[in-house]
Amino acid sequence: MRKSLLVLTILLVGVGMCAFGQVPYPGTLRIGAISEAVTLDPVNAYDTSSGQQLLQIYEGLLAYAPSSITEYVPWLATAVPSYDNGLVVAGEDDFGAYTLVTFPIREGVYFHNGNVLDPGDVEYTFERCLVVDPAGGPQWMAYNVFFGLDYNSLADVVDAFGQDGAKQKIQEAVEVSGNNVTFKLYGPFGLFYSSLMNDRTYWGYIVDKAYSITNGAWPQDFDIELGVDWKMGPEGAASPLYDIPNGTGPYMLNLWLPVEQVILEKFDGYWRGWDGDHVDFMITFNISEWSTRRTMFEAGDLDICYVPRQYMGQLIGTEGLRTVFGYAAAGNSGVMLINDVNPESQFIHSGQLDGKGVPPDFMNDIDVRKAFHYAFDAATYAEQIYLGEAVPSYSQLPIIFGDAVYQTYMYGFDLEKAEEHFRKAYDGQLWDLGFKLTLEYNIGNDMRRVSMEILEANIESLNPKFDLDVVGLEWASHLPAYQSRQMMVYRSGWGADYIHPYNFIQPYYHSQGNFMRVQGFGTPETDALIAQIGLATDVAELNRLCHEVQLWALEGAYTIPMVDPTGRTWERTWVQGRWFHSMGASSGNFKAYDVWKAVEGPGFILDNILFPGMASEEW
């Protein structure tokens, strides 16, 4: 149909439906969000807003099986390779042991521009990932599985193999043969599917080679200098494809008004077809003001709305709304205690143990660390900040990992024990001299601030000579302070990149991990254990290793466990069919293909296998 005629029809139908007071804009899903996509090119997308759009536009070779975080189903591939079906084969060469994983590629799949999906596209996708390595981007996960857990960037690969060696290795990493694509992994096969190949790891989505090259992306040319030519910068728009996506997914980009809204429309040639009820359009609005967003949601001008938890009380009981809650999020936070702080740091004041500051290695004293642990009131935090929708954490591994979590509370809120340890610290000197310390947080989030204030209030109540204060820094001042290691106590958060304990244990506990690197307590023995976790294939062994590492961390009292929150999402009662997977639940990412709008229907699809506590309520 001519576009204008189509628009007019939709308009009339929409107006008509409105006139009947039924469901406004029945073919359009309208989402009210507070942030928006940075890029629509999978190769450099690392934020959840981009992820939500990409989830509709592109696809991966595999997808998670329903209600599972460990099983997969074929998607753009036609089989899930395993040792059993012979598509996974182990091998060894002079570099090391490797795993060959072969995917047969599905036929009859089309990209939005009409091109057919073929194995060459898959090869191109992953070679491009390895060659352009966007700064600050997600491809470190690709290097982890292709080359090993010690490889996090293109620079690491070039350092190890040299220019020519690296080029050869990258080309060998993905090869086409007939209708199949074979991956050669020197890194752990156990992390391959979860971190790169499923429907939620958007950095592994398949792009169209011909389209990409025509539009200015890397031309699959290895006659370049790796790490210099075609290396992508940190900007969202560093990729020429960032606003002209072309995927195999059910929806394609209709219009992107930067910072305002993204409109996706139905791709008629989608390989899975369009039987059943679906929405034709998905519009994501960026509405930063809560009261405005809320009024629109209540008036029915938004179908799904992001509701900050602290305001949820304003919506409870509103007619026409549905809320789903009680599902554990794939993320948590912790208060890091940092050793060997920058001696010039403004936060440690005098820098001496003289009652007017703290020494840079204040956190080296285990009694100090334990005292801080006992001073954090996780229950009050959960109750007042999360409105009860959180449980105190055991460790830095969120409870969604079930048996891998060391499920014993080692500390907890106990002011007597906190005092006991403060008295013991520095052989009693600390108690007599007192100390002065500034706790810092990054402005913009009440949760961060309150966590620091709880510590401040509780610790100060023990001894009048303990002088703490809490200061908030803008991100722009926080970043340099972080870079120059000025903070001694710092609340950090981590959202899962992929569902595997390694993704949490490594950053928090490995000496080179994102957080432990800053804290400075890592040890080679623990590092070795953590590497094993990445490589483990047996579940029991995995759990045992995880317990051992967590025990080490808890006994050492390095990072104060906070709370494991459960999520909550809101939608209008006429939204039907939405469901969550563990990846995506915390950010509210969902597949629009399964959603439709109608007065009657199944509502939100609760998944009590993945989320035992999930429940729904509507008015």
Binding site: W290, Y311, S477
Partner: protein, 292 residues
């Protein structure tokens, strides 16, 4: 003098303005007694009763209720009076002084100096205020003092331009020409004749601005700058109300106190300064004398 006082005290709006202002001064002075500080060295830090986000309505413990984050509104309103005076007076008078100096120099000398100074005024007008405020916040930390500095840097221009245009206008008027004819020196003319007569629009501006500095700070709070969170400042308190203003499901006025309790002092404060400014101008302006 008595005549002036009499005039001031007979007009109803003028009396209202002065009374209001007086009431605010009283509250500011007795603040430590009616709202004793919880933190000895930080009287402007509002005491918090817990960490809940949801504001609690007025009760025996919190006479005016609590704002988002459980900050006591009564405390904030009382100590916020001091903040309002501080911010209003310091920022407005500093800005006014700077502006008047620059404006009169420009008008007095004319020519190239005038051009140069007016271009500097243009430059400051064009300078995005928020950038300056943001940079200050990043470099020096988020505080009321830094916001005041940023505000001073961006309010002086109005005074400069208005004063300059008034001076230019008056220069041509009869009595200025007469004084010149008599041989009085230019500078003297400027100081004794022109400026005092050019002050009236300035009066209006000052009286508007002292009051509205509170609002400027609330705009900054809205954008994430302004005073530290939990600082006793009306603008900030009203900014805290923004996510609760529309109440809860079925009860739109559930959180009325978060808006009304800081809002009324703001409105009355601005009103009082305006009325006082108007009254003073009406009474002191020689051209107004002899009128009804």
């Amino acid at each position: 003098m008595l005549k002036i006082l009499k005039k001031l005290l007979t007009r109803p709006l003028s009396v209202a303005g002065f009374l209001l202002l007086f009431a605010f001064i009283v509250i500011a002075v007795i603040a430590p007694w009616i709202a004793p500080p919880q933190f000895e060295h930080e009287p402007y830090r509002i005491p918090r009763d817990g960490y809940w986000a949801e504001p609690k309505p007025p009760s025996a413990k919190h006479i005016l209720g609590t704002a988002e984050g459980q900050y006591d509104i009564f405390y904030g309103v009382v100590w916020g009076t001091r903040t309002a005076f501080r911010v209003g007076i310091i920022v407005t008078l500093s800005g006014c002084l700077i502006g008047m100096v620059i404006g009169s120099i420009a008008a007095y000398y004319g020519g190239l100096i005038d051009e140069l100074l007016m271009r500097i005024v243009d430059i400051f007008y064009t300078l995005p205020f928020l950038v300056a405020a943001m940079v200050l916040t990043v470099v020096l930390g988020r505080s009321l003092e830094n916001s005041m500095i940023a505000l001073i840097c961006f309010t002086w221009m109005g005074y400069a331009r208005v004063l300059r245009s008034e001076i230019l206008r008056i220069k041509e008027l009869d009595y200025a020409q007469a004084a010149r004819a008599v041989g009085a020196n230019n500078f003297r003319i400027l100081l004794r004749h022109i400026i005092p007569n050019a002050m009236y629009p300035i009066f209006v501006m000052v009286s508007m601005n002292i009051g509205s500095m509170v609002i400027a700070v609330s705009t900054l709070s809205f954008l994430g700058l302004g005073a530290e969170i939990g600082y006793a400042d009306w603008g900030q308190m009203i900014s805290l109300a923004r996510n609760w203003m529309l109440g809860s499901a079925g009860n739109a006025t559930a959180y009325w106190f978060t808006v009304v309790c800081p809002g009324i002092p703001i409105v009355l404060f601005v009103l009082s300064w305006n009325l006082v400014g108007d009254a003073l101008r009406d009474v002191l302006d020689p051209r107004m004398r002899g009128t009804r």
